[in-house]
Symmetry: C2
């Protein structure tokens, strides 16, 4: 008798759910639900539509998560023709840190009339960057006090994380902070809705909220040094009861059973983060193989035996990805979005027309042309910092650089140079890991980008000198969540007793291997040396022109004060988007 599991991945613009066969991970049905309110970054979706957001804000509506559950899961069951009684578990993952304030019963504050018009009552999406001043304070105070946990996060935490966002609420909307009985990750909040029981997963706690299994959260004295009213944030607004991923969070409550069409009592897995949950879904449960989730940005995850400090990594968390291992995370803050920027803002009409004629995207036209070039042929080299640099420099104030254009330079050459630049950025990260003894022998890529762009994967293989494989699933996060659901259900229900076992049965790779071409790798070795020289010169203070340009830019925009990340500060520069106004 077949057993099934459901995984739901709550992304930035939409949620996607899969129903898979527990025996082999076969995907029987997929359902996607675009959020009604999408990313809220201009005005709140209030009836009057009159609350405008500052330029660096990014919110979500928690009602969209519930709507996603109600829209997708019943559809999966219907499409697959599966009896809900054969679905042994449901698991979910979400972006992180994506967090919200709620009442003690889980009601989001933004659902209350009195807070509906207050932006701080809504879900702060991962890419909400308005808490930079708070992140600066958190980093400065931690450095002053020599906080031991700082090393686990490469020496610096991001404005995207939990405490900067929480502290911004306290700083800017103390009434919201006071009214919030809980501050919680969206992923945990969704599991709460499914189980009627609050849990906190160790993946977001570890990677985004400074928690570790050995040391717990930072001391109260540290939080008090940030703000007197922040001293007891953990005990008043959060919970020290952190549950490991792979465990069962609880069982499906009656209300959620009605939403989803699943049986009440179905096992519900502890929540997970989209990137991290992809690792076992990409077949990786042991050290030695890096998983790169390639999309608008790149996320690099690799398992290790020891919690060594790696330059500029986002974090290392024990049991954060796979139990018994240290999960290392690093990232590149701009990848697919740089290619998208290029395609939209720097490619002349001819290529767009060619794309229209052939019925393909302009990316495909550029890729086909770029694939005909040999390494080194463009004469171009770029620094892939259009959206700042996450790893290893951890510096959002950096910006892009292109060297080498001539009057003969054509768009596909720049396109390829941008692809190469992101590959060099990944190689810097691999080198940083290996310098500390964290092995990266091979790489598995997943995410939307490698699906669509074979040249990209080959360039990455050629640049890094490592074989690339692609995860078989096009829905790795949702598959990973379904795998965790099978583990939450356990062997007694027809599932698995560990994510390692689940991965062995349910996760697969595609057949094609992208092996480095030795002649290309040799040229890229030379180009990589040049990349490193530029990287270190512009990124480590030798030539600080990017920072000075940023300062002049902020002065020109009349906004010299807050340390707003450039991406957001420039989101709508006056006088530019012309035909998009």
């Amino acid at each position: 008798m077949s057993r099934y599991a459901v995984g739901v991945d709550f992304g930035t613009e939409s949620g996607r759910a899969v129903l898979v066969d527990v025996a082999d991970g076969r995907e029987l049905a997929v359902a996607v639900h675009p959020y009604r309110n999408g990313v809220i970054d201009e005005r709140l979706p209030s009836p009057d539509d009159d609350v405008r957001l500052e330029p660096d804000w990014a919110l979500q509506d928690p009602a969209d998560y519930v709507r996603t559950l109600r829209a997708t899961v019943p559809r999966l069951l219907a499409e697959a023709g599966v009896d809900p009684g054969d679905v042994i578990g449901i698991g979910i993952d979400a972006t992180a840190c994506t967090m919200l304030p709620t009442l003690a019963d889980g009601t989001p504050l933004c659902a209350l009339d009195r807070f509906r018009r207050n932006p701080h009552a809504w879900v702060k999406l991962w890419k909400h960057h308005a808490a930079q001043p708070e992140a600066d304070r958190i980093n400065a105070v931690a450095r002053e006090r020599g906080e031991p946990w700082l090393e686990r996060y490469g020496g610096k935490i991001s404005s995207e994380w939990f405490f900067p966002k929480a502290l911004q609420i306290l700083d800017e909307a103390p009434e919201v902070y006071r009214a919030a009985d809980r501050l919680i990750e969206a992923a945990d909040w969704i599991v709460w809705q499914l189980t009627d029981r609050e849990t906190r997963n160790n993946c977001t706690a570890g990677y985004k909220a400074l928690w570790s299994r050995r040391d717990g959260f930072p001391d109260e004295s540290y939080f008090a040094a940030l703000h007197p009213d922040f001293r007891r944030v953990v005990d008043e607004k959060m919970s020290r009861g952190v549950v490991l991923i792979g465990r069962r969070a609880g069982r499906l409550c009656a209300r959620a059973a009605a939403w989803t069409g699943l049986r009440e009592g179905t096992a519900v897995a502890v929540a997970n983060v989209d990137a991290h949950v992809s690792v076992p879904a990409a077949t990786v449960t042991e050290p030695g193989t890096m998983v790169v989730i390639m999309g608008t940005s790149n996320c690099h995850l690799v398992l290790g035996e020891r919690p060594v400090p790696v330059e500029g990594m986002c974090g290392v968390v024990e049991d954060g990805v796979v139990p018994g291992r240290f999960g290392f995370e690093a990232g590149q803050s701009g990848v697919g979005d740089i290619f998208a920027w290029f395609a939209e803002h720097a490619v002349p009409p001819g290529y767009h027309e060619a794309a229209r004629r052939r019925g393909v995207s302009v990316h495909e036209v550029l890729e086909a042309e770029a694939a005909g070039l040999r390494p080194g042929q463009s004469g171009l080299l770029a620094l892939d910092w259009w959206n700042g640099n996450r790893s290893v420099l951890v510096d959002a104030d950096l910006a892009g650089l292109l060297v080498g254009p001539t009057l003969a330079t054509r768009a596909p050459e720049v396109y390829r140079a941008l692809i190469e630049a992101t590959a060099f950025g990944t190689r810097v990260i691999i080198d940083a890991f290996e310098a500390k003894g964290v092995r990266v022998d091979g790489i598995v890529a997943c995410g939307g980008l490698p699906e669509a762009n074979r040249l990209l994967v080959q360039v990455y293989a050629d640049v890094t000198g490592r074989e690339f494989r692609l995860a078989a699933s096009r829905q790795t996060p949702a598959l990973g969540s379904a795998m965790h659901a099978a583990v939450a259900a356990g062997t007694e229900a027809g599932g698995y007793d560990s994510i390692v076992e689940a991965s062995r049965h349910m996760a697969h790779l595609r057949d094609r291997a992208y092996r480095p071409v030795p002649a290309h790798h040799a040229v890229y070795d030379e180009l990589y040396r040049e990349y490193l020289r530029l990287h270190d010169l512009f990124g480590r203070g030798g030539m600080d022109v990017m920072k000075r340009l940023r300062r002049l830019r902020l002065q020109a925009l009349g906004d010299p004060s807050r340390g707003v990340p450039p991406v957001l500060a420039n989101r709508r520069p006056p006088g530019t988007p012309l035909d998009r106004r």
Copy 2:
């Protein structure tokens, strides 16, 4: 009774002629003649059309010069309704060094059946860059021998000049070299056709052929060191009889009178170079005011009292522009062609559509948007080396650089950054002149670019901190040639006895002055410091990435040998122009 003069400017793609009133320079008629064979850079215009040129070649057909005279001058007379008897002189200028081999009677070798299919028999246009190996040899041997004239040319001569082109003929087509009784500048050849008498003007001799009034040409021993058969190039193929500009070359011969409709015996001025002849036509005959001819490239001319060595200038020639003064020349090898490259290859469809809708060029759309930005607002800074760097670095192997792009960067911001970069490049040149005591108090701009782009001129004023004026004429070279014609005719014929006098009466400025805005100048001072840091780092050897990229590029293209300038080496990179193939 009114007196008139005709000036004809032989450009790259066409010739343009003006008929002006000698009293006040008023232009009564203008006629333009596009060359039938244009720039010959793919295949020779032979009947079989089967002689292909190497990628870095650029030729012209001397028959096009004669066709221009025949097409334009009669049209001027007809349109203006002027009696040929009232035309007191004709003067011409051309691009330089643009040179050709001829028989002793002036017949171009390419007009002979036996040489028609030999590319070396045709006119080598100024932008013919295939003589780079010869230029390298000329520079190396000059440095080894400590040739004293090298200092007059900023320490390095260009592949565009006379002796590299002549030596290339000897190297690659000794039969053409042997058959050539004369090697001559196109401008002098045209005057020869007009007067039936060979003359050599001191402007091209001085700026392009290493001649000076005090020292003449380099020694024979130097030429012999380049190639044994080159020893007597001056005496065998050229002439030591160099005539100063402003003099009369001769009088119109019967054949040329028939071509032009002018009277036989009309005064013909000594030939001139398009840029240099523009100086008095832009009202400048004294030190202190720089003339910038702004077009696809920028040419900077300023007069001085002494022949001081200025870093990276193209040359200093006594009497080269105005008698009694030292004329200094510097240049930027890419300006308008960088903007054109950008508009064609890096601007998305929206701006092109807007241009179409409004019935203007995409440059106008970009300029309007860019004009709305404040200095520093784009956060961008560029090095304007898309076509290498002429002054002050004299390095064709340099390439472009853009620092600062983010995901919020839009095309008009890059467009403005490119304009600013060329303005910074001009400021470097001004600084180099002033460092040696050659004053640049104010600037007069002429050429196609400032006509079309007010933002450009204002940015130049703001960046340099100097007032810019525009020459009144839209045909400054042709006007300058007409002025020289009036001088060649002399006061006795109703003309002038010096170019200073002619300039005082015939040249004018527009009323509008572009004054630097102090607040903008202050921001540009800061940006200029950053520009200089990048300029010196990438241009003076500290960071030689551009050269390494170029080497890798040539390797990838399978052409590691000849020192071909990158522009030309990349002219048709395989797999790029897509919709333009």
